[in-house]
């Protein structure tokens, strides 16, 4: 296990290194300068500004400096907000994004498990049909359409929730619902398929035959075994939430990193874009690593094959 972990962490670092390298050189390819009023500045002024931001050095030196900084969590200075380090900008914004992302994940997956389990238990009845409709709608309706729908009906028309502000828990409800729809749908679908499979297996027959109650069979034998493979879709769901958050945070004016990403893209704030790309990849890598480790713990068969490789 320790060897496997070491290998995985090595790959994580390698991946991040490649991500940093590729984004750095991609950003160097971008047209335009960070100066807003280039025409008004004299040559010496431009040189001074370039020197201040380290842009006068050759590209390979800039790259090494950036790499050295990134390791220590320093992603340079934002172009958009003068004298604001990117790391400060992002650390103040990551909290709301994490909160909403985690809430959406937990809400979506738990409700998804319930919906999927009921669908599988009452197979081919109206319960199952409803569960299927919920999951197919959740997958098909883009999160930002859902966000605007929720904002309009629950926020504006009914006035149950604030429309676009950031404060306490009440402000996170609508974005959580909007982002949680896809995890809900995906996990409901997944759990239903798994559970239908499990319910027809021999050990369920045995559990029933030995006289266990219906809830006992479902809870102790069917549900637990159906949930193990669910860990594998947590990674893709995390990607989905990250993608969705960029637009949903914008719609609800949440001061998170998704909103910052869109803002930075629209204002050509390259250092912030780079920092965000690295943070997004880092978060995703960690999620994938954790889910792989968890899967190994929950399902011993994976661990054995992992060693054999």
């Amino acid at each position: 296990m320790a060897k496997y972990l070491a290998k995985r962490i090595f790959y994580l670092i390698l991946t991040l290194f490649i991500v940093i390298t590729v984004t750095f050189f991609l950003m160097k390819l971008l047209p335009g300068t960070p100066l807003t009023n280039q025409a008004k500045l004299s040559k010496s002024q431009i040189a001074l500004i370039y020197e201040q931001y380290g842009l006068d050095k050759p590209v390979w030196q800039q790259y090494l400096l950036y790499l050295a900084g990134a390791v220590r969590g320093n992603f340079g200075t934002s172009f958009q907000f003068s004298d604001q380090p990117v790391s400060y900008l992002l650390s103040s914004r990551i909290g709301p994004s994490l909160q909403i992302g985690l809430q959406a994940m937990i809400f979506g997956v738990i409700l998804g498990i319930i919906v999927g389990a009921f669908g599988a238990m009452k197979q081919n009845t109206w319960v199952d049909t409803t569960a299927t409709i919920v999951s197919i709608l959740g997958i098909s309706i883009p999160s930002f359409v859902l966000a605007v729908l929720l904002q309009y009906y629950l926020g504006l028309k009914l006035g149950w929730f604030p429309i676009a502000e950031w404060g306490g828990f009440i402000y996170t409800v609508l974005p959580t619902l909007a982002l949680g729809a896809t995890p809900l749908a995906e996990s409901a679908r997944f759990v239903r398929t798994e559970m239908v499979d499990v319910l027809s297996s021999d050990y369920i027959e045995l559990a029933k035959a030995k006289g266990l109650s219906r809830t006992g069979v479902i809870y102790h034998h069917a549900l637990r075994n159906s949930l193990i493979p669910l860990i594998t879709i947590v990674g893709p769901l995390a990607v989905n939430i990250m993608t969705g958050s960029m637009v949903v945070e914008n719609i609800f004016s949440i001061p998170g990193i998704g909103e910052q990403f869109v803002k930075s893209v629209l204002t050509n704030d390259y250092p912030t874009i780079m920092g965000l790309t690295i943070i997004y990849s880092f978060m995703l890598c960690v999620v994938l690593l954790i889910t792989d480790i968890l899967y190994g713990i929950v399902d011993p068969r994976i661990r054995i094959t992992g060693k054999a490789n």
Binding site: Y11, L14, T15, I18, V19, T23, L26, L29, L30, P31, I136, L137, I139, S140, I141, P142, F144, V145, V148, L149, Y152, L156, V196, S200, V239, M242, T243, M246, V247, N250, I251, F261, V262, V265, L266, N268, I273, L276, T277, Y280, S281, L284, C285, L288
Partner: protein, 341 residues
């Protein structure tokens, strides 16, 4: 029970030994179906998939047919008819009869604009452009982007996956590592970066989506290739000295087709979703061109007062996504009946 069933005398006939000799017990009475015919038959039984197929056909015909016949010019600006709500002749339901609630009173917006004789099925936008024509136009652009991107993505993904799976060994390991690295950056981030470099526009969106979404296809094709290449008919072909290229096209590709078709059905809605998201953020298609995403973006600006401007594109977008997803599900069941119990 026994005497309730009365069968006619002539239902039974004694078989002579001659007849028995002529009977072929191995003969299959039903016509034998090819794989595609069998899948088609199963697909037709799936109501959701069948309806989706029809809906998609209608959407395609309308979106591309609007090149020839369009109710209005999607780019014709007419400020005096701006922000008219939807009006469908003969329908008198609030929301579809051209009336609006203004200062607490329901008024006929068409009469106010002096256009009582006209009607716009989905209303008009803030520049007085016919929303129905705009939606048709936007759907067309969205579909073109999705289809072209999917085509590229198909080519890259299938080639990459087949090569990786066929070669195996070290090459496979390296190619899989590359895929893992690509998978560890959220797709949308990569797409945004690529678009920034290529400058926003239809081509760069297509390239960006194509360059990022082939990974899934490559993984599935690789897994399937590794399974198929162990089959005896591949071994036979190799023993006979067939060139790898020919094996790939003649033996691998037909056997991969179901995986490829199913995955394509899920790639297309994904591409539509990415395009809509990009245009919605504001780095996708730029005006006067329209896509479903830009229409949503335009509609959202004053959706508090004129919600229909957002509902229509949102509805169409959701219907297309839903239809592709249902069709994909149906195709998966049709190609692989084992997945359905």
């Amino acid at each position: 029970m026994a005497d309730t069933v009365k069968l006619p005398e002539d239902s039974f006939k004694r078989i002579s030994s001659d007849d028995r000799a002529n009977l072929d017990s191995e003969k299959i009475a039903a016509p034998s179906l090819t794989f595609a015919q069998d899948a088609w038959r199963r697909l037709k039984k799936n109501k959701g998939a069948w309806v989706s197929l029809i809906v998609l056909a209608i959407v395609f015909i309308m979106a591309f047919g609007s090149l020839v016949v369009s109710p209005h010019n999607p780019n014709a600006v007419n400020p005096s008819y701006a922000n008219l709500p939807s009006k469908i002749p003969g329908v008198n339901i609030n929301g579809f009869n051209g009336t609006l609630v203004q200062a607490g009173e329901r008024v006929d917006a068409y009469k106010q604009a002096g256009a009582s004789s006209k009607f716009y099925i989905m209303g008009t936008d803030y520049l007085g452009r016919d929303l129905f024509s705009r939606v048709l136009y936007g759907t067309r652009i969205s579909l073109i982007i999705a289809l072209v991107a999917t085509l590229f993505d198909l080519t890259i993904g299938v080639t990459y996956g087949m090569f990786s799976g066929w070669k195996g060994g070290r090459i496979d390991t390296i190619m899989q590592r590359i895929i893992e690295i690509i998978l560890s950056i959220p797709n949308l981030v990569v797409i945004v970066l690529l678009i920034l470099i290529l400058k926003p526009g239809m081509t760069s969106i297509i390239i960006a989506i194509a360059l990022t979404s082939w990974v899934n296809m490559a993984r599935l094709v690789r897994a399937q290739t590794m399974e198929i290449k162990e089959q005896e008919y591949i071994l036979a072909a190799r023993t006979l000295g067939e060139r790898p290229m020919k094996i790939a096209f003649k033996h691998l590709l037909p056997n991969l087709s179901s995986v490829i078709i199913i995955n394509t059905m899920f790639t297309i809605p994904n591409a539509i979703f990415f395009e809509a998201t990009l245009s919605y953020i504001g780095i996708g298609i730029s005006s006067p061109q329209a896509s479903l995403g830009t229409l949503l973006n335009d509609g959202q600006k004053n959706f508090q007062f004129l919600p229909y401007q957002m509902w229509w594109p949102a509805l169409i977008l959701s219907i297309i996504m839903l239809a592709f997803n249902l069709l994909g599900d149906g195709l998966r069941d049709a190609f692989d009946p084992r997945t359905k119990e």
